[in-house]
């Protein structure tokens, strides 16, 4: 599915250079559900952004479904983000002035798909929000907003779902609801990588990668 080989990422903050990732190598197979944990500042988000083709590594090789991503240009990366990857963010990142339905349709618009409404309604239903399609984000509870975001991530039938602390803004009960959605998706064959701080969220996944200071400390 995806393969990272000696990935490094160095941020330049003025004169000083901050090494956020220092030689990450790992493979994630199709159909896996993996959690990434580690202390704050250990490089979890940085790694997720690189896997998600939102950012480019400073050095190293990244292959996603056989494609050497580190060689692609911005437009090709946008295409991959649109077609192959679904993002779920800690802060939901929904467009506040548009309905749940329009939010879910967004990736379809950039993918040039037809039959958008039907497809968007279908995924909204699959995350249990059929009754909320015309609501705006401000009219939805946190858990519901995150489900809209999951629907948006799913709408283009990606091969990989990336979630950076998807339950970070939710209470325990809602977190469990969201995790059970991910669990169900994984059971249907979706590859899922998620970042979390909480051990009981990580417990949902069969495999956990531990980061520390930009390196993999353990992978089990």
């Amino acid at each position: 599915m995806l393969e990272l080989e000696n990935i490094t990422k160095v941020y330049k903050a003025g004169q000083t250079e901050v090494p956020a990732l220092r030689g990450i190598s790992c493979r994630i197979e199709s159909g896996e559900m993996v959690s990434i944990i580690g202390p704050s500042g250990s490089g979890k988000s940085t790694l997720m952004n690189i896997i998600g083709c939102l950012d480019k590594p400073t050095s190293g090789k990244y292959r996603l479904e056989g494609v050497e991503v580190d060689k692609l240009n911005d437009d090709q990366l946008a295409e991959i983000r649109n077609k192959k990857i679904g993002f779920v963010f800690q802060s939901f990142n929904l467009l506040s002035r548009t309905t749940a339905l329009a939010n879910v349709e967004l990736p379809l618009i950039y993918g040039g798909a037809s039959n958008r409404r039907q497809r968007a309604l279908q995924v909204l239903e699959s995350v249990g929000l059929a009754h909320r399609v015309t609501h705006r984000p401000s009219e939805l509870a946190g858990g519901e907003q995150q489900r809209v975001a999951i629907a948006r991530a799913l709408v283009n039938n990606p091969s990989l779902i990336l979630a950076d602390e998807p339950t970070g803004n939710l209470d325990t009960r809602t977190s469990q609801e969201i995790m059970s959605i991910f669990k169900k998706l994984n059971e249907q064959g979706m590859t899922i990588v998620l970042v979390t701080h909480e051990p009981d969220i990580a417990a949902y996944t069969r495999r956990t990668i531990k980061l520390r200071d930009g390196q993999i400390e353990a992978s089990e």
């Binding site: 952004n49 295409e79 649109n82 548009t98 040039g112």
Partner: protein
């Protein structure tokens, strides 16, 4: 991304902040309205000028005293009836010569009276040269001139004031205290050049015997103006030269001395007036155009604010697959839509302004036939969209260049 989706995305963004969109549009709207009203009022004005000159007839040359323009009433005149006769006899390019002496006098008929009316002493040639049409009766004839008849032809305004709906021909009027019989009424010329509607015409010979004393600096055979008709449009210039030569000799002017008269050629006057009006219109349109420019700066300003405000949105769009081009086009369309709508509404507002002005003009007694020239619409809206695109370009490029991660992290 399909073009239609670009449009609907941009429109949705504009609609989600209606008040701001409307306020942004306002700048362009006012600019375009200003340009439109200037252009269409300008074209109406040009039409009026053209019409005025057309009624005067072509091939016309006016000879007047040097210090005054065409009316020449009350001026110390240097021209005489003999000057006119000399031109008629000796200038080969000239067809007709119509001398005219003028003074002010009171005109009374029945219970009505008009003070300070221009009384013009003319010959029968005046009708031919100045192209007068008769509403009633007939103009001053050669017989009237020879017999020094006490007949008068009234301008339409004068006839209307003195006699109302009644036909004045055959009626008597008192001009400067003397009895005259009305022989005809001129057709109205509207608010043209020479104020013919407000004049009274009598035979020049009668003028000398009855009214000439009232004229300042009168010599008994002086005239205030000589209207000359050239044989053809091509001969206007040579006629002018001939007239100048004849008058210089007659007035005993030596080489190097200035003319003591002025020769005006209607065609060149018309050309000059049209040119001046054209320049004036350009200047006004330019000033109006500046407000369009200000509107464009307004659009740029708002688009920059909007890009900054929507950084997270842009980051999210990029994260779910928007390409640079998609973001660029969205913001360009937003700017172009603002300016197009502003432009279209501006054309409407401009048209309303022009209509209101023409109604006001009608109430003031002018006929202002305003048309909205097609080129003005195309020009104004085209320039508006162009300005919108130009001012939207920089903000759009900034939006398109944003880094998705940094944008998503933006608070």
């Amino acid at each position: 991304m399909k073009l239609w989706d670009c449009f609907s995305t941009a429109l949705r963004a504009l609609l989600s902040n209606k008040l701001r969109s409307i306020l942004t549009m306002l700048g362009i709207l006012i600019g375009v309205a200003a340009v439109i009203s200037v252009l269409s009022l300008g074209s109406a004005q040009a039409a009026i000028v053209e019409e005025s000159f057309a009624t005067l007839g072509s091939n016309l040359i006016y000879v007047t005293p040097p210090e005054l323009g065409m009316s020449g009433v009350g001026a110390q005149t240097t021209l005489t009836l003999e000057d006119a006769q000399a031109i008629a006899q000796n200038a080969p390019s000239v067809r007709n010569v119509a001398p005219m002496a003028q003074t002010y006098a009171q005109v009374v008929a029945g219970g009505e009276s008009l003070s300070n009316t221009i009384i013009a002493g003319v010959t029968s040639k005046a009708q031919v040269v100045d192209n007068y049409g008769m509403a009633q009766g007939s103009f001053i004839t050669d017989f009237d001139y020879g017999a020094r008849s006490r007949v008068a032809v009234l301008g339409s305004e004068v006839a209307n004031t003195l006699f109302g709906e009644m036909d004045p021909t055959g009626q008597s009027v008192r001009i400067g205290g003397r009895q005259f019989q009305v022989s005809g009424v001129l057709e109205s010329r509207g608010t043209g050049f020479g104020f013919e509607d407000m004049r009274v015409y009598i035979p020049l010979s009668t003028f000398y015997t009855t009214l000439a004393t009232a004229q300042v600096g009168s010599r008994g055979d002086s005239v205030n103006m000589i209207s000359v008709q050239a044989k053809s449009g091509d001969l206007v210039e040579s006629a002018e030269q001939e007239i100048t030569d004849i008058l210089r000799v007659r007035h005993g002017l030596r080489e190097g001395e200035d003319d003591d008269f002025r020769v005006l050629n209607m065609a060149s006057v018309a050309a000059q007036v049209t040119q001046v009006l054209g320049i004036l219109q350009l200047v006004l349109a330019g000033i109006a155009g500046i407000s369009l420019l200000v509107g464009g700066i307004g659009i740029m300003n708002i688009m920059l604010v909007s890009v900054t405000e929507r950084i997270r949105e842009i980051g999210l769009r990029k994260a779910v697959g928007a390409k640079r081009r998609d973001i660029l086009i969205q913001f360009l369309i937003e700017a172009a839509t603002l300016s197009f709508c502003g432009g279209a509404l501006g054309v409407g507002l401009g048209w309303i302004i022009v209509k209101i002005m023409s109604v006001i003009a009608t109430n003031l007694g002018f006929t202002l036939s305003v048309t909205l020239p097609g080129y003005a619409i195309v020009l104004a809206v085209g320039v508006a969209i162009f300005i919108g695109l130009i001012s939207g370009l920089y903000p759009a490029v900034r939006a398109a260049r944003l880094d998705p991660i940094e944008s998503l992290r933006h608070e």
